[in-house]
Subunit: 140 residues, 2 copies
DNA sequence: TTTATTTTGCAACAAAGTTGCATCTGTGTA
DNA sequence: TACACAGATGCAACTTTGTTGCAAAATAAA
């Protein structure tokens, strides 16, 4: 785990610091997406709020995490796969928000469908966010 | 115009007040979506910030407007079609954000495609937000 | 170890959103 | 038309969220 984290940071030419390690740990420890608030809570008193903002910003720029738009317009972040890098994201998968348990996950195996746009429109990015009940919440 | 506004409010059992009329006017005056800030600016000094928040909240609940999630996680609102009502929204169309002019529009004629979810997942709502260049910005 | 470069925490601030309450206004009724 | 009442508004105070500048601390390289 610790080696994986070091590797991610090194690969992106980022120095290995307490906050970066801790925040990556949080992402790797669980399968879903995290809000800024979650991170602030889970890191406890350990880091300054500003540091968390700046760390997430750096991770975003480096293509280590991506942000997820949600229907209630809260900001969520999740780990990117290997093919994202500095300046170029390729997170063309669907995001799922469970209305029961509140978790949000990347459905990496579900790619966003092709959509026919009206004449004149050119797309650069398509975001799909699906609300519903996740697989843990439907069986019961 | 004014009659249309009155009708919308009456149909939803809302009293006809200055802020509600003015805000509906703003939505009807243009084809796109509006951010809270846009509305505050365009209503000038006329209404309190809190009133704008509360008016938008009421319109959301009544199904007069819907909110649009965006990639940069800002909050946008746009008029619903007739089939939305109190407690039930049916805005299953695609939203388009132009990266050039900044406008966001509802593509009412583009319905969201069916998406195969992994076993166990049940969807209730699918949001599609597309970034790119709008039809006004591609011709030039 | 020393040094140069980043990163961090702090303070101060700005923007966004919420809540309680007194006052005002729109609407239905007499 | 006048009245009463529910609901809408404005204001103040507050919370939450996000930003910026700068000095101190930590990291990575020499
Ligand atoms: Mn994702
Ligand atoms: Mn729409
Ligand atoms: Zn769930
Ligand atoms: Zn445009």
């Amino acid at each position: 785990m610790q080696e994986a984290i070091q590797e991610i940071l090194k690969k992106n030419q980022l120095s290995v610091t307490g906050s970066r390690v801790k925040i990556l740990e949080l992402f790797l420890d669980q399968p879903g997406a995290l809000a800024h608030g979650d991170i602030e809570r889970k890191t406890g008193e350990k880091f300054d709020r500003v540091t968390v903002y700046r760390t997430l910003q750096v991770f975003l720029n480096k293509g280590i995490i991506h942000s997820i738009p949600t229907a209630d317009n809260s900001v969520l972040y999740a780990l990117c796969k290997d093919d994202c890098g500095e300046g170029h994201h390729h997170d063309n998968h669907v995001h799922f928000v469970c209305d029961k348990c509140g978790n949000t996950v990347c459905l990496d195996e579900v790619t966003v469908p092709a959509i026919r746009l009206p004449r004149g429109y050119k797309f650069s990015q398509v975001q799909v966010v699906i609300n519903g009940k996740c697989k843990d919440c439907t069986r019961e």
